[in-house]
Symmetry: C2
Subunit: 479 residues, 2 copies
């Protein structure tokens, strides 16, 4: 630091002032958020570590019910079971909020196969149809499915360059990997998922027969990752599937060797009529401002593979445990606190929309909404958003809480909240996303590998405890 | 916050001053640690995510070599392989530093069995002899092993209360669980591990025939956790084993039901003569102060079960990758930078002692030592310690670096470093422990379950990158 010696005096003076002000600031924080708060938070964590229920609930949801796509029997069972658990918690009310949900079914296992050239036989590529995809044509007939050439693209611009001439009748293979250099993996997902969401229709515009998408993960393995697609109503609906990252590498290498390689692809999925389903809600009525509502939630539906353990069984059981634990530590909330297990986040967000619509219709006042939908990993903090007319004031208040979260390794930051609570933005509530460590999330997300054994008990419990601590503080101090 | 309105004015003024000072302070931090530093750290992370080697190295060490207790063939192979990897990194020197190590062998699989009463048959309790334990008497004879009553204790004070009358000829069963309410699991370990380390001799004092210890973990499962014990030279050496937490619960329940339950216990372990082994060292020679040395390290030995993947294969491959990556990003260190893969941390720390002895004998100047021996999990920060005559000055300087680590979620704190570098304290070097997320560590620690598949590639790589970033900054700015 030799080049900096001329700054030493300023630095020492600045340091002195900084320490002085920090001391003042801490003293002030301690007065506004008392040692009683620190003690209550400690009690919440202790209770969760010693007597938390979320892990055993997740075990049941994962192993006894399993995956639960909207409209499925699993989803029906999950609704009934969740309500039955809430019924044991001595809450003030527990109810089901009806909503209609899409009903998409995968059908028989999909087949995607690279047709061998002279050198070798066919190569099966582990695949999952994307949620909402149509089947390949001729479904049900013998020998049904597509046989077509493949064209690999990494950037959208390549589609236009290839044009109808290069694409018509072919399978477009989107192979732009998630960027591993983002520290928060959700940012990498955000930059790559457009291929999965919009790839089918953008390729259909040029006459593609179908699309394959490299799985949205940073892991190199043989688990395909499903997820929703959105069809542009102006384009024909073509079949779409994700293949595993290892399969994507294999396919890319095969096309390098022989660009005329052909692919066999058969999807058996189908969109049926909408079905009735429910959000599941439990409530502790506020002792001072019962009309003012705080919600915590996750989504009860999952994709139709694995257990939906991290996505989003974790968020549901954590939200339920927040209500339990507030009662267990003897805290009487001033505001009404609800946990909401939303239906249909994965392929329609109908539950979230329904909840917000009813809230608006009934003129309910929502103070704060917190969603856990980023997995049951070690908590790292919370991110906050709100309508721009109210955000600054809210955020200043929650930032004041940060010192209380420091012993638990949690930070307070601006950022997104959750798909289910997003529609509450118009009610001018403060919205927050629970933010656990993100490194492993996309190893499991939307795969057969998102199973109960991938969830660590303590990590899950710490998430629930940190959510309970935040809800406690916001309830106590208001916004 | 209605009760706080009278503080509002002070608060606003304080906030204003705080922002002002923070701005000054950030400006000053940015001048002392330039945007060039931020860019270099970014480059280090990017390079690690895109082209890191530590994960593939750990795969080899885990799957091709496996566990490697001091004195074993695995340890020999690990030394040779580690040197061969360092030889590919174009370092300035690579060498083996000889040291003698203890050579303890487990022998045939241990047996611990609760002898059934009229109601049921015998119950096998999953067990591992503690490292260094003697065998049960009569080893090799037919029907060898101990059959004895069991006395359960949770606190040391109970031993004295029971006295020789209650203990003599029995197996003392230490069943004080790790306290789950510590956020950092190492603290819970620290409060419980005395049972494993000192339990045998303290029970031998009252004539115990053997001891069993509840495994040092917060997980409830059937993996016994081994680990070292220390025999008090004044007491007879009695056999000692750990049983799984589920077995501990079972045994405790059985004793509740019938305190006269007997146990069969057979350990076949043996301490052989010391064997020669090595620390493995690689070095980049400093361009400005070659006589000034920075080391990063982990320990190459592991317990004789599982792969020793987290403990401490992770620390070794990370340390090796730090040297590789500093070269890969084109950084030329001012000081000499060594990675040291220490031998025998688990049952003797001979490698660490040998390294420090040689450093002292050769009058080497060690500036900084960093150890990674807390698993290959998501990095959370670094802890620092040093001889009290030098610590404050050092710590002030490293704390100045914290803003550069914030984007990576890392904190700088006072705390322990590592068992291998601990002996360097007397050289007045700054010592640091790499501190990853601790929640899962004791699920795997010293068990057959500490295998390669438990390590996440990104978490491991982020650890190596954060270590490289710290070494880069300390090398560049000195202490």
């Amino acid at each position: 630091m030799t080049n900096l010696k001329n700054l030493r005096l300023l630095k020492n003076f600045t340091s002195f002032l900084l320490i002085l002000i920090c001391t003042l600031s801490i003293a002030q924080a301690q007065s506004s958020h008392s040692t009683e708060d620190a003690k209550t938070i400690d009690k919440i964590y202790d209770q969760m570590f010693i007597d938390g229920r979320c892990y055993q609930w997740l075990e049941y949801l994962s192993l006894q019910i399993g995956h639960r796509l909207s409209g499925s029997t699993g989803a029906e069972k999950a609704v009934a079971w969740t309500k039955s658990v809430l019924d044991t918690l001595h809450l003030d009310s527990v109810w089901l909020q009806p909503c209609m949900v899409p009903h998409w079914v995968r059908g028989a296992k999909e087949e995607v196969r690279l047709i061998g050239n002279k050198k070798g036989g066919n190569i099966d590529l582990p695949a999952l149809a994307l949620g909402g995809s149509v089947a390949t044509p001729g479904e049900g007939l013998p020998q049904a499915g597509i046989v077509a050439g493949v064209v690999e693209v990494k950037e959208w611009s390549e589609l236009e360059k290839l044009g109808e001439k290069g694409i018509k009748g072919k399978v477009v293979f989107y192979n732009r990997p998630m960027d591993p250099t983002f520290i928060r993996t959700f940012n990498a997902y955000g930059k790559a998922v457009d291929q999965r969401v919009h790839g089918a229709s953008r390729a259909a515009k040029y006459g593609a027969a179908a699309v394959l998408v490299r799985s949205m993960t940073l892991a190199m393995d043989d688990f395909p990752h499903t997820g929703t697609l959105i069809y542009d109503p102006e384009q024909p609906r073509i079949p779409a599937a994700a293949i595993s990252t290892l399969a994507a590498e294999k396919l890319s290498a095969a096309l390098q060797e022989n660009p005329k390689h052909q692919l066999y692809m058969k999807l058996n999925c189908e969109m049926l009529d909408d079905k009735p389903s429910f959000n599941v809600i439990g409530e502790i009525r506020g002792s001072e401002h019962p009309e003012s509502i705080i919600i915590i939630g996750g989504h009860l539906d999952s994709w139709d593979v694995g257990h939906g353990a991290h996505d989003d069984g974790a968020g549901c059981v954590q939200s339920m445990d927040v209500l339990r634990i507030l009662k267990a530590v003897g805290y009487k909330p001033k505001n009404t606190i609800r946990c909401v297990m939303f239906m249909n986040e994965e392929n329609g967000s109908r539950g979230g929309k329904q909840y917000a619509e009813e809230a608006t219709r009934k003129n309910e006042k929502h103070l704060f909404a917190l969603e856990s939908d980023a997995g049951g990993f070690t908590p790292r903090g919370f991110t906050f958003e709100a309508d721009s007319t109210v955000f600054s004031g809210f955020f200043e208040k929650v930032r004041d809480l940060e010192p209380l979260f420091e012993p638990y390794g949690l930070t307070i930051a601006r950022g997104g909240s959750g798909a289910d609570i997003g529609p509450l933005r118009s009610t001018k509530a403060l919205l927050s996303g629970y933010s656990p460590d993100s490194q492993r999330y996309f190893d499991y997300h939307h795969t057969a590998n998102d199973t109960f054994d991938k969830v660590n008990k303590r990590e899950l419990e710490m998430g629930a405890a940190s959510m309970a601590a935040l809800v406690y503080l916001i309830d106590k101090y208001g916004l």
